[in-house]
Symmetry: C2
Subunit: 414 residues, 2 copies
């Protein structure tokens, strides 16, 4: 469709960009320094006020589940009861990894025994979060992909697979502002996941609500409470809810938490009591003083949104301008979260990522959003606009667009 002149124009522009020797990183959902600055008060520590309100000396051992006041706040945050939460260390990923590892070694409430040796499998909505997939791969859990649509994972497929194969022990979900497509699960999806029949009586939903309050725009779509729905459906033990302040406060030094039914919690508490003497209560106390309630968290997240929104919009504007007319890619317009997901024409994504890299623009590796790093159609590219400056994003997205145009042309799509 395009003329040779147009071709050389893209390649010429690309060559000019390449020679500028850029080094731009859009690989990961890292907060930028401006976002981290929002939590500057946390850096001052607790000072001489190291006692929690209930008198706990936060410098010493104790409180294996976390401070009572912290549990209360983050129970509301997760949408669970005060007896349905346990605070972790600084990483919800660790909690997820460890919960799966424990299930393999010991089973979960309702299991006949350890999952290890049973050929345990997990459903993985795709495109999805690479670190979820890494946990499964590392621990030897076979992954079965399920398409992720605009309302969540395809419920019919999920219910069919989970209903017929008792080796399928769970599903990984990012229910709000899904990584990377940015969609939020619909009410029907949440209810369906909660109520479907599963062949495995110890099926678990790993509900990684990493972006629970990470809205870019006002009036966010509601997310139905998975624990409530599971209880209503008689499947109280099904969901394990994870949250983290890594992208609320400080990315390496936030709080992580897990919520679940009291039966599951007792099992988690047992495991944690063997693994650790308790989480860092000084970090908990600092967090509590900085963000004492849900209103404070919400207010704080609006400041994040004010930093992130123009970044997302800058990327989208360049994509619209440079690629809009050509029909060689589609992309999401998320209302929150940390990613834009882009779909090239078939067989182009890895070549695009390579080409962009040669011009100094690092993108998430091709295939990363699929189990085992294999994107069967080679179409998905995850864009992470949070870390670079707007200027850098414009430049990087321009190079990405050029790379897409060049590869699409080479493959005959343009």
């Amino acid at each position: 469709m395009s003329t040779p002149t147009a071709t050389s124009q893209y390649q010429q522009q690309y060559e000019e960009a390449r020679l500028r020797g850029l080094d731009l990183d859009m690989t990961r959902g890292k907060p930028c320094a401006d976002q981290l600055d929002l939590s500057a008060p946390l850096l001052a520590g607790v000072g001489a006020e190291y006692l929690a309100r209930d008198g706990t000396d936060c410098r010493n051992y104790g409180c294996a589940d976390g401070l009572a006041d912290v549990k209360r706040l983050y129970a509301s945050y997760l949408g669970v009861g005060i007896d349905e939460i346990l605070m972790g260390d600084n990483s919800s990923l660790s909690l997820m990894h460890d919960v799966v590892a424990q299930a393999l070694l010991r089973g979960v409430p309702g299991s006949d025994g350890p999952w290890a040796g049973t050929g345990a499998r997990f459903l993985c909505p795709v495109p999805g979060y690479d670190r979820h997939f890494s946990i499964c791969e590392h621990l030897g859990i076979e992954m079965i992909t399920v398409p992720l649509g605009s309302e969540g994972p395809d419920l019919e497929t999920v219910a069919r697979l989970a209903g017929e194969d008792e080796r399928i022990k769970g599903i990984f979900c990012v229910p709000r502002y899904s990584n990377p497509t940015g969609i939020t699960y619909s009410d029907a999806t949440v209810r369906g996941l909660a109520s479907m029949e599963t062949a495995a009586k110890d099926f678990r939903i790993i509900w990684d609500n990493a972006y629970a309050v990470h809205h870019l725009y006002p009036n966010p779509a509601p997310l139905t409470n998975i624990l409530d729905e599971c209880k209503r459906a008689g499947n109280s033990q099904r969901p394990l809810l994870f949250g983290s302040t890594s992208k609320i406060t400080l990315a390496g030094a936030g709080l992580a938490m897990v919520g679940a039914s009291e039966v599951n919690l007792a099992d988690l508490r047992l495991f944690r009591s063997k693994q650790s003497i308790g989480p860092d209560k000084l970090s908990e106390l600092s967090h509590l003083r900085f963000l004492p309630d849900l209103a404070a968290i919400e207010n704080h997240m609006q400041n994040h949104a004010d930093i992130l929104r123009p970044k997302f919009e800058a990327v989208l504007m360049i994509l619209d301008e440079r690629l809009g007319p050509h029909g060689v890619a589609t992309w999401t317009r998320p209302r929150g979260g940390y990613f834009i997901s882009l779909e090239t024409r078939e067989g182009c994504a890895s070549a695009v990522i390579d080409l962009a890299a040669q011009a100094g623009v690092r993108l998430t590796p091709a295939g990363a959003t699929f189990p085992y790093g294999r994107d069967p159609k080679d179409t998905n590219i995850r864009l992470a606009p949070s870390y670079p400056s707007i200027e850098e994003l414009r430049e990087a997205t321009g190079i990405l667009a050029l790379s897409i145009l060049i590869v699409s042309e080479q493959k005959g799509f343009l």
Copy 2:
């Protein structure tokens, strides 16, 4: 041997003490508030200086192994090379638990496969640390006890068992100021553990050097470097060295670390990269500024010793005075660490602990220093003098002594 008059004297004294309604806790090796005060500067956080010397923004993701400067310092602390260490979160217990869990799920370098399902067993020197035993019990590793003597675990027994049973995959060791007896492994023991033949080719020594610098008195006995010895003996992969600042700085908010050969480290790094995005680098940076080198750590530990030494000596003085003449108990005189280990006459320990509890003195539960909580001779009592005040320790030890006298009398030992 004692007269009825003496009997009623002990019981009368005990009754008087009981009526005072005490509540004294000698159960755990918790630092006291004065010790925690020594690390007050840590509570101020890093403030605006959140960049590490190498420019790393400690507020953000990254540095999965820990900050370079922190690794350098704690590599020296553990006695390993800079490429032989990985920083954990706030708990070395977690690292130990997780390393064993990973071995069960995936094996270790040199394994034919996962340890799970192979009937994996561990050697456990006794008396020992209850949380080591809990990890094994929780994860289904059978524990085989080995007597701990004044130079470490009985080497002949260890070598015989490890040499003949390939299901024996490891041993838990607290090589310096062992919990609870306070002994330090001799050079011969360390060399023997490093060089013995093991039936399992993937045998591991869990070297929990929790009290590496926790001396009560000057001129501490040296501890031979286990990694060096293992390398010399051609068993580089054998030891996994654990350390923690929980009892150097803050008990719930210190740094934990693991050291090992580069081959083991690569395996640990792989696991950690799946489990976590990295440790809390702000805590690392605070620690580094507060304790920048080994000399600072050593100096700081002398301040701890100045607080702890009189506490240990107060307990020992009461034990000497009240029990010395009667021959119904023996106890250790540790040169460091957190515990005094007391041996009653056979069959007395649990009754003594119960009796002391009735008078408001809580001691570590009977049997806790043995696998599965079973002290076969019912003789061992672990005393933790760090947390109570000297006044409280005198009172608590007095009641303990009375309880020992009364029970010994009832059992006919007095």
